[in-house]
């Protein structure tokens, strides 16, 4: 995200979307340069795969190009609209591919010390648990906990009431905690079960 005033940012995005709808190539290039990293990070958080995130990002912007004419300033912010598009594309892709990726996250290339290595392991473990959540919980956790959107903004993107966001987030966090707790639990020693004897 850019560090400037979010309202100004959103106005700029909205004007770019309107220009794209009118067929302006430069507006498309500008919007891509401004928002490509945000969309990529969102896709990566959802899929935990760099290649999936890259493909999804391309698709999101082609989708934006196709549907920019449907953006209505009166109905919501440009950021919500853009992430709504991104969400549709990424969910479609994840549902279609049923991809539960085991790719290692490329979050940091080198680790200087043990503390950093442990932190990277914790991050990797948490992200692995996150992508095992059902999609409706995962997207809410990504929006609210990772992207730090307000409930209202997340509800606008998801097209559901704020109460639904709140309850999904609660369940998503609980499921995430349960997954992590299961991993933390010591493995049960293998026991030999008596073989069933059939007469």
């Amino acid at each position: 995200m850019s560090d400037t005033d979010p309202t100004l940012d959103d106005r700029r995005d909205a004007s770019l979307l309107l220009a794209i709808a009118a067929g302006c190539e430069q507006a498309f290039v500008d919007l891509y340069a401004r928002r490509q990293a945000d969309v990529f990070r969102f896709a990566y958080a959802m899929a935990r795969s760099r290649s999936v995130a890259q493909d999804a990002t391309q698709e999101v912007f082609l989708n934006v190009l196709e549907n920019a004419g449907r953006f209505d300033v009166a109905k919501g912010s440009a950021r919500a609209w853009l992430f709504g598009c991104a969400r549709h594309v990424i969910l479609d892709r994840l549902r279609h591919e049923r991809r539960w990726t085991d790719e290692l996250p490329e979050l940091s290339a080198e680790h200087d010390g043990d503390a950093e290595l442990l932190a990277a392991q914790r991050v990797r473990r948490l992200h692995a648990a996150l992508v095992r959540l059902p999609l409706e919980y995962r997207e809410v956790v990504v929006f609210c906990d990772l992207e730090e959107w307000t409930y209202a903004a997340a509800a606008a993107v998801l097209g559901c009431p704020v109460g639904t966001v709140r309850s999904r987030l609660h369940r998503g966090r609980a499921a995430l905690a349960a997954l992590l707790a299961r991993e933390d639990a010591p493995a049960e020693p293998a026991t030999l079960r008596p073989r069933e004897v059939y007469p």
Binding site: F40, F61, L65, E106, V123, D145, E148, L169
Partner: protein, 175 residues
């Protein structure tokens, strides 16, 4: 971490440090380099595809509209024709008309003398049993049919005519 500020959300608090680390790691994640030329190429390709698809959709819509217009025109013309036919005086007033109905021509009888233009003839209306006629659709049925015979001065019949559909059934038994 916990935008709700809900103190009871223990799951949010329990993993807050890890989520913060993941959040920071994601923010530090390098996004793919933006290739300006590739973006412009993608834009142009997609626009071309969209324009082609829109042109196809426009043509399809135009065909549907043309078909609808033709159907409406057909129905309208059909309605007008039906209205005109139903209002035509010949059809609606035919039964009450005083105008002479078209008279069928006499058919020459086999083995009879030819009809001469200058000779005098009489027309005699007769009733003929249907059973005696082998060529009519109702032949063989019980009943009678009216016919006009063209009779010469010598008393021999020259021709015959069945004078219109109204004259044909004399008896209900013929059907």
């Amino acid at each position: 971490m916990n935008p709700s500020g809900d103190p009871n959300d223990r799951d949010a608090e329990a993993h807050a440090p890890e989520l913060a680390e993941l959040r920071a790691a994601l923010r530090a994640l390098p996004a793919p380099r933006v290739d300006d030329a590739a973006v412009r190429r993608a834009f142009r390709d997609r626009r071309r595809e969209l324009d082609a698809a829109r042109a196809v959709a426009r043509r399809r819509r135009a065909r549907v509209h043309a078909a609808l217009a033709a159907a409406i025109a057909f129905v309208a013309v059909g309605g007008v024709v039906r209205f005109v036919v139903s209002q035509s005086p010949q059809r609606s007033q035919a039964p009450q008309s005083d105008a002479p109905a078209a008279v069928a021509a006499f058919q020459p009888l086999l083995y009879a003398p030819e009809v001469a233009p200058g000779a005098a003839y009489s027309v005699v209306r007769v009733r003929i049993p249907l059973s005696s006629l082998t060529l009519l659709p109702a032949a063989g049925a019980d009943g009678m049919i009216e016919a006009d015979l063209l009779v010469g001065e010598d008393g021999l019949a020259r021709g015959i005519r069945f004078d219109g559909a109204g004259a044909l059934p004399v008896s209900q038994a013929s059907y």
